[in-house]
Structure formats: C-alpha cells, structure tokens
Symmetry: C2
Subunit: 620 residues, 2 copies
C-alpha cells in the first residue's frame, strides 16, 4: 500500500462513482453544516445590534427571527422547485446562466466563489477563536491551529464524498441533538412557569438603554440575522452527489436542513425572549448567547460542556460545506471554459481535486493574511450569498415563464427573487462601509478574469481545432543536428540515432580554444566519416563553431536558428544526448546543458525546430 493510498484511500474507478453517492442522512452534515452552524452566530449577531436598546431590545428578537424564518420559508420552496427543475445540479450559476444569460451566471458564480472562500476562512477561524478563548494558552498558536484544521478538512475531502460525510456525521447530529434538548427543556420550563421562567444560574444584568428603536436599526438587525441563511444554496449545487432518485433525495435533505434550522432559530429567539437574555458586549466579560441560554436552562453541568464542544466543532467544520460545494461549482464553470480545464477533471477518489486544492490555497492565504483572526471578514460574506440567491430566483422566474410553469411556480420564485433582492440591497447598504465594498470590487475583477480565460481557450481552439483529414503530402527528412563536445559512447549513440531520423546529419562542436577538448576533430574522418560511408550512409558533417567568450549554448542556438532561416521549408531535428543520473545527488556532478538548450530552443525557436532527447543511462 503506497503512501498516497494511506493518505487519500485507494484510487476509485470511474464505474464506482454510483457507490460513492450519498443518501440524505450523510447529505445533511455534508451540505447542511454551513447552514446549521449559522444558528450559532446568526441570532447572536442580531442580538448584538440590539444591545443599545437595553433589556427592552430583547423583545424585538422574536418578530425579527420570525421575518427571517419567513424569508427562509420562501427560499426553501424556491430551492425545492429549483432542485426538481435542475436534477443535474442547479446552482445559482447554472440557473442564472441558462435563464438570464452568461453574464448573470458569471456574476452569480463570482459572488458564490468569494462567499465559499470566506465561509471556509470564517468557519475555521470562528471555531478556533472559540477554542482559543476557552483555552487561552493556545492563543499564540491560533494561525497554526487554523492551518492544521484546514489541511485536515482538505485531506478528508480529497478522500472522497462518502468519507467526509462519515467524519462529520457525529458532531453535526450531536450539535442538533444538544440544541434541540436545550430548546425542549427550556420550553417546558417556560410554559410551566407561565412564560417567565427563572434561570438555573444567575445571568449577567443587561446594560441600560442608550438608544431608541428606529427602522434603520431594525433593518441592520435583520440583515445581520440573515447571516444565518448563508449555506442554504449548497444542496441545489450538489444534487448529482445524491443516490438515485437524486432529486427527491436532495429535496428531502434540503427539507430536513431547513426544518432543523427553523426550529433552532425560532427556539433560540423564543428562549432568549422568555429568559430575557440579550447579547453581551464583545469587548468585556463576553459570553456567547448560546452559552448563557445553556446555563440558564440546565446549569453548568456535563450537558453544558458537551453542548459547547459540539458548537465549537460544528463551527470549525462548517468550512467543510465550502469544500463540498466550491469544487463542484468550479467544475461546472470550468466545463463551460471560464476556469482552467483542470478544475473539471476528477481525481483519484472521484472528487474534483483541483477545486479542493484551489479552495485550500485561497483559504490558507486569507487565514495567513489575517493571522487566523477573520472577524473582520464576517461583514463581507452575506452579500455574495444573497446576490447569488437573487440571481438564481430571478432565473427561475424566467425559467417557469419560458417553460410555461404553473402560476404558483412563478409566484414562489418571484417572491423569493423580490425578498432576496431587497435583502441583498439591505445587507449591502448596512454593511458597505464595514467591508462589503471589497466584495463589490472583487466581483468585476473575477468576471474579467473568467471571461479572459474563456477567450483564451476559444482562440486556442480556433487555432488548433480541425475536422480536416491529415495532410501527409511532401513529408521530407529533417536536417539532423547533434551537439558534440568530445568523442564518447554517448555522442556515438546520439549520432546513430540521428541517422534513423535523417540522412543529412551534422555534428556541431563548440570550440573555446581548449586543445584537449578539440582533439577529436582531427580524427573525425576516422571516428565518423569512414564508418558512415562503410554503412552506405552519407558522411556526417562536422561543424566547428568558435566561441571566444567560452559560451557553449549560444553558438549552437544561433546556428540552429540560422539554419532554419536558410532552410525555411525543412524541419530541423536537434538531437540532444542526455545523461540520466541514477541518484539525485549526481545532479550536481554533470552539467544540465541539454535541459537548458531544450528550453532555449522552445523559447526562441519555431514550429519547425524539433528537439529529440536521446537518453544515456549511467550505470555508475
């Protein structure tokens, strides 16, 4: 078993693809981790903006959460329809491209790609941030831990889909189970106490109000809470990863994810309101809302610690959704020619390895750039998701109108498009100064790059593609040239091969005035000319090039280029004998002139100059 096999698992044959597909049980952790984990920070983000309203502010969380749940319901039905309409995988890119146009598709693609990189970076650094605030001695190693987790997630994903589902299944269901238990216990206690339960432990006192409520404030609260909705689109991109029947399996997975997410969001909002728990100031004596709720409901026992651990692991693993989806998105875009083609080929474990590498490199770069602390990136990252949502929903509206879909189909997606469109504008406005402008700048750059890539591929294709039969007329022998430094078995071997290519053979010797090196020239007749004539071949010509500056390669290069100019109708075959060393450390003992000359000929040459490497395997 090779090292590669141990790291990545045995290679999978193409016919095994079907067996690698997943059901909805495994689908939830793979495609839902991002959406579900956002329950841990969405409500918190909303409550944080309500701090200035004091204890009264907490009241607003229930109506705002209800409006987020309403938006989520619209999105759910929209995406359910999208999955049914695009069983081959209907991400925003595909839907927008097919129904609105390539420009809209690329816009959605760029927005989503930015979003996935941010999801991966923010997910990992949020998890590590929580871990580090629990164990402060790890603080100096923040970046290193982030990069290790990134490497592990990338590795697990390179091993293939099914395996990553298996790895993430436990923390995901533990997380859901713990939060469900919390909501159930808290709910029963709340009802038993007539809506005003007493926390098991003392809660921090809310600071006094410093502001009054305004529509603008509520809009900002809403747009912050919308962070909880990123990741909802993942399932629709990955339909093809599900077992047959794919669309129903994908829909079932989407339903489960959305229902769980709604319960979590609603439950958390209700408990916060019932217990009167608001967010704490992040700058001093910070405690997360979920931590307070858990303490209030069940005290700081084993249940508390298990729940906190599951939250941490789910947060840092939420990056995995990006790893499941980003390579699929890149594959579709690469298939259309807007990204390098290698993104479209499947690796040894039937995953799109290049996309995984790409995401890992970009995420790692972002983590290194921000030293593993990506708090400042959070504002950037709902914009992309909602832009993609909007384009996808708008595309679906056109889809139904062109396909003649039922009125309720148009209505559902139209409602989705309007709701997400408005939300995009709200989020962009509310977060523009905080960093959303970076996304606005990045998107056009990516659009230009993608269009440029496709243009290049098109030009290459125009230049090289042909449906004509080959033209084998006028095939003439090339002129064969071989550089020769001194007479040896290696040069003899190259000269022999030259005769298999052509009868017009020239040996080129560069003379720097060193007599011992040039000695063999005098014996050229004996070494080469007579044997050639004996074998019935034309004698090889010895061309001696003077090199006053002791350069070896330049004279040969110039000779070849000149010869090509003088014989524009003939091909020149440059035969380079190459010593193959048995051991890497022999590399330093022999010059690498053959390799350098080959590169020079490629760079300076033209289509009629062909390089032939004749290897000589050293036994020494």
């Amino acid at each position: 078993m090779s090292l590669l096999d141990i790291l990545f698992g045995r290679p999978l044959a193409s016919r095994e693809e079907r067996a690698e597909r997943i059901g909805s049980i495994a689908g939830i952790p793979i495609f839902g981790l991002d959406a579900l984990s956002s329950a841990a920070y969405g409500p918190e983000a909303a409550l944080t903006l309500l701090i200035p309203l004091g204890a009264m502010g907490v009241r607003y969380i229930v109506p705002i959460t209800l409006s987020i749940i309403a938006l989520l319901t619209i999105l759910y039905f929209s995406y359910r329809q999208t999955i049914a309409a695009y069983p081959g995988g209907g991400g925003s890119y595909t839907v927008a491209r097919e129904n609105i146009g390539p420009g809209a598709g690329l816009l959605a693609a760029a927005a989503l790609m930015i979003d996935y990189v941010l999801t991966a970076a923010v997910g990992i650094s949020a998890g590590v941030g929580a871990l580090v605030s629990a164990v402060p001695s790890l603080q100096p190693h923040t970046l290193a831990i982030c990069l290790w987790i990134l490497a592990i997630i990338a590795l697990v994903n390179l091993r293939g889909l099914r395996e990553s589902g298996a790895v993430f299944i436990i923390p995901t269901y533990l997380f859901v189970g713990c939060l469900f238990a919390m909501i159930a216990i808290g709910g029963i206690r709340s009802v038993a106490a007539g809506g005003h339960p007493t926390p098991v432990e003392a809660m921090p006192i809310m600071p006094p109000a410093t502001a009054t409520v305004s529509l603008w404030l509520l809009l900002k609260v809403f747009s912050s809470g919308c962070a909880a909705m990123t990741g909802v689109e993942a399932v629709s991109n990955g339909v093809k990863a599900f077992r047959e029947p794919t669309a129903p399996n994908a829909q079932r997975t989407l339903t489960t994810i959305i229902v769980i997410l709604m319960v979590l969001l609603g439950g958390i909002a209700w408990l916060a309101s019932a217990y009167g728990i608001g967010a704490t100031n992040p700058e001093k004596n910070y405690e997360s809302v979920l931590s307070m709720l858990l303490r209030a409901v069940a005290g700081k026992g084993i249940f508390y610690y298990v729940s906190i651990a599951s939250i941490l692991s789910v947060l840092s693993l939420s990056a995995n959704t990006a790893f499941a989806d980003f390579p699929r998105l890149c594959r579709i875009i690469a298939h259309d020619g807007y990204l390098p083609r290698s993104f479209a080929s499947t690796g040894r474990r039937l995953v799109y390895s290049q996309g995984i590498y790409g995401l890992a490199v970009l995420t790692g770069g972002l983590l290194i750039l921000f030293g593993g602390v990506t708090d400042r990136l959070i504002p950037l990252y709902a914009v992309g998701a909602f832009l993609a949502f909007t384009l996808s929903q708008a595309g679906m509206v056109r889809h139904w109108r062109r396909q003649g879909g039922a009125f309720h189909n148009v209505l559902v997606n139209g409602l989705g498009a309007c709701a997400t469109g408005v939300t995009t504008i709200v989020v962009l406005t509310a977060k523009f100064i905080d960093g959303a402008w970076v996304t606005v700048l990045l998107i056009p750059v990516m659009l230009i790059a993608m269009v440029w890539v496709r243009r290049h591929y098109q030009l290459v294709s125009e230049e090289t593609s042909t449906l004509e039969p080959a033209n084998f007329g006028e095939i003439r022998e090339p002129i064969a040239i071989t550089p020769i430094a001194n007479w040896s078995r290696i040069s003899e071997n190259a000269l022999r091969f030259a005769y298999t290519v052509s009868h017009d053979v020239r040996a080129v010797h560069v003379s720097a005035g060193d007599q011992t090196e040039d000695a063999f020239c005098a014996d050229w007749t004996k070494y080469a000319e007579i044997p050639a004539r004996k074998a019935g071949l034309p004698a090889p010509e010895l061309v001696v090039l003077e090199s006053p500056y002791r350069w070896v390669l330049t004279p040969i290069l110039n000779y070849v280029l000149d010869l090509q100019k003088q014989n524009p109708d003939r091909e020149i075959a440059v035969i380079l004998p190459e010593m193959v060393e048995r051991h890497w450390y022999h590399y330093f003992l022999h010059n690498q002139r053959a390799e350098i000359l080959k590169t020079w000929l490629l760079v300076r040459g033209n289509q009629r100059i062909v390089v032939i490497n004749v290897p000589w395997y050293l036994k020494a």
Copy 2:
C-alpha cells in the same frame, strides 16, 4: 547594454585573459587583505589571554610577537621558494599532492577550503560587529548587513580580478598608512620620553593580576597570536593571476605583504608595551587595543576616526581574499576530478564563477546559522591554515630532495615544516575544546566526498569513453508512438513528424469513458488512415488504452515500456506534441502532461526509448 552587462561588466573574450592579470600594487589588496587585516585582531587576541596577569602581562607581548615574527620570517622564505618552484600556482594542495601524494594534497585542500569559508564569514561578521558596536541602532540588522556585504563582495569578484583590486586598493592603503603613522608618531614620542611616554588621553586602568605566568598560558597566547598569520598562503595559490614575469611579481607582492605585516605586528606590540596598554575585558566597557593605542598616541581627533573607519572596512573586506583564492583552489581540485567539473570553467569575466557562488552560499549559510555573530568560529580557523602550511612545507622538503635542491633550500622549508607542524599541534591542543574539534570532524567528511566525486567521474569515463570509430551498422527505423487526446492541428502536426522518423507509426489514445473525447476514434480512417495511404505511407495504427481510474499518463507509460520489452532490438520514439505558451500566465491554463510524461519516460525508461518534443507555438 543588458542587465547582466551592467551588473557584471561586458563579457571578456578568452584572449583578453592576459590583460586581466595584475601587478603587485593591485596584488597587495587582492591577496594580502586577509593577512594585513589580521594585524587588527592577532595582537588583540594575544593580549586578551594576558589579562589575568594584570599590568605585568603586557610585558610578555613583545617576546611573543617576536617569536611570531620569527615564524613569519621562516614562512616567508619558504613560500618565496615555493612560488619560484611552482610558477603555475603552488598552493598547499598542489605542493602536497605532487610531492607527498594525493591523500596529503586532499587533506591540505580540505583544511584550506574550511579555512576560507571561515575567513569570509569571520571577516564580514567582525567588520559588521565593529560597525554595530559603534552604531548600536544597527544592532537588529546585523545579519542583513552581513549578507549585503557578502553579496557586494561576491558581485565585485564576479566582475573580475582587476576590478576587485581597484575597489579594495583605497581602504587597504589607507589602513596601512594610518597604522604606520600611528607607529611612527608613537615611536617618536616614546623615544623622546625615554621609553615611558604619557598617553594623550587617559587610558583604562589594568585590573589586578589574578594568575601567575605559566608555560601553558604563554603557549595559548602564542597560538592565539598566530591568527595573525592566516592568509599568508594566498599569494602562492594565485601566482597565475600576476602579470609576466609572474613569479617575480608574485614574490614582490609576498615580500611587501609580509614586511608590512611584520612592521604592524612589531609596532603594535612595542607601543602596547611602551604605553602599558593591555586588552580590556570583552564583557564590559570593551575597547579594542588599536582604539586605545590610537587615542594614547594622537587623541580622539580626525586621525582617530579615519583610522577606525579604515580598520572596519579592511576587516569586513578581508573576506575578499577568500573570494580571490577559494575559487582558484576549487578550480585546481576540480581539474583533478575531485570536485564537480563546473568549478573548473571560467565565467563571462574570466573568473571561476562557480567557486564564487559556492563560497558565497557556504559563507551565507554560516552567517545565517550564527545570525551574523561568528565570534565562536574564530577558534576553528587557524587549525586549517597551519595544517595546510605544514603539508606544503613538508612537500617542499621532498621536492628539493627529489629535485636535488641546495642544502639551504631543504633547510628553509624543513625549518618551516617543523615550525608550522609544532604550531599546528599547539593551536589544535590549545583550541580543541573551544571548537577546533569541528574542523577535525569536518576534514574527513570532505575527504570522503572528494574521493567519491572522483570515483564517480572515473566510472562514468570508463563507461562512456571510447576511441573506437562509430558503428553505423544495422540502423533500423524506430517505432514511432504519439499520444493523441483528440483530433486537432497539434496532433496532426505530431503525426506528420512521426512519419519523418519512421513508417511504423502508432497513435495512442487513452479513454476514460468520456464519449465526447473519444468521438474522433470513429473517424480515424477518415482523418489519418486514408490520407496516409494516399501519400503512399503505411496507415498509422490507433491504439486505444482503457483507463478506468481516469489516469492519462500511466497507461501510455506502461504501453511504451511493454512495447520496448516486446521489441528489445528496436528503438521506440515517443513523439510528444508540446504547446508553447506565449505568456507565463498561460502556464496554468494548459496541462503540463508532455513535460511530466517526458520525465517519467526518462526515469522509468531505458536507452532505447527516445523522446521527441514537437512544439506547437500558440498565436493566441
């Protein structure tokens, strides 16, 4: 004028070599900087060991310096003779090798090479150390300054000999002039004051004696003072760099260097003794002996600062001697086959560029390893020099006996051999624990490496060298194979070239089950077979290889290796079409499979598998 020309100067033709040679005026800074600059730290090193004897200790400096000067005199006459006997360059390596044997030569070579690397590293870091203690704000940049100076010295040396002489001439003569002036002024004042002059400025008070004098202590003082003698051998290695008549010019240079060095050593010892100035403790309120002498003789005026500046620059430039000599030494060793051959070839400015790169890399590595503070290396570095001196002198003794030289010749070199031999043992014993053991360990490692290099070259030469005429009998066409992914102008081009090489042409297609890719197979008859028959050529065979794991290169590689096994008497020509990109950033848009397959074929193939690169130049 290209960038290379600006950095390194225009290339020099081989016939210009004579004009690049130097006279003795330029020879002194080039080959003498190391020896002369040691006047700045040799006496200091000796005086430091005398500190425990208190004010009385300073007395011993004059007799010890006289014994060092006596040893220097012996060495001088020895090396004068060596230069006359070896006008082609008679370093320790050559002399020991020719007269004692290859083993002794290599031993001397290894010792000298270690010594030169240490000279370069210690010289630069000593200069920078002095600079940094004068300007403490530069302290954090010590390593960076060291590496910059190293780069400048290497660059100047790559520009060629004459230029480096010109650059170093001013600081060298300024240094000598200042110290001569100091000795003259101090000497006159001392004589005028009846041997007990009063310092112009107050001198630090010597600490009380804490030890009594012993023979072991005096031996250690002597061996520390011997550091002043390293670098004396440089001229004898570089005889060939001098203008005609080479030997007399080299001898004149050696004479001048030794006389100046003796005057400096003697003068410093005398003044120190007359003024009663000892070394200060390096750990607190440190002031160098030369600085104190300068203050005592002439006060802290302009003269003081100019002198200090010249000392600093000479110290850090003393590394240049290593750069002048190390490449020459490597060249001679490489010429004998004990070092990679590239060390023996002259670069664009007629210097041995590889040796300069090698020394720069080793010195840079050492500086980085020690963070630019190489104080701890000083103990290591007289051992190598004295070992080489001893071997060279012993070799000269045998030389005279074999050549029938006069008795005084044998006497001079015999005396030299004994004196330096004893000194080697004294230095090794006195400094063994402090670090000389590293040298003792390193030398055998280098010996083994050099012997191994030579053995490798010999085996290669045995394997490849021949004086037989070429055998052009039984030249048969190879089997031509070209991989083909789809039908395009590029594959047509490769197929066309295949027919210039052979009539047995096979196109290999790897199928991973992708139908769009395999589409052209059905039309193979139309695309290739019919046109070939029309042109009177045998039709190319299309070989389709199944690849269930979607690998592209492995099936081709295996096919080629199998085919070679089945046709052991024939050559296989693998024709690889290669797209040549116009811009570096196109690299990412096309796969590099041709390059990878070529490497695999080289690694796994054999002498009968030849790779032919047919380039396709993209216009796009």
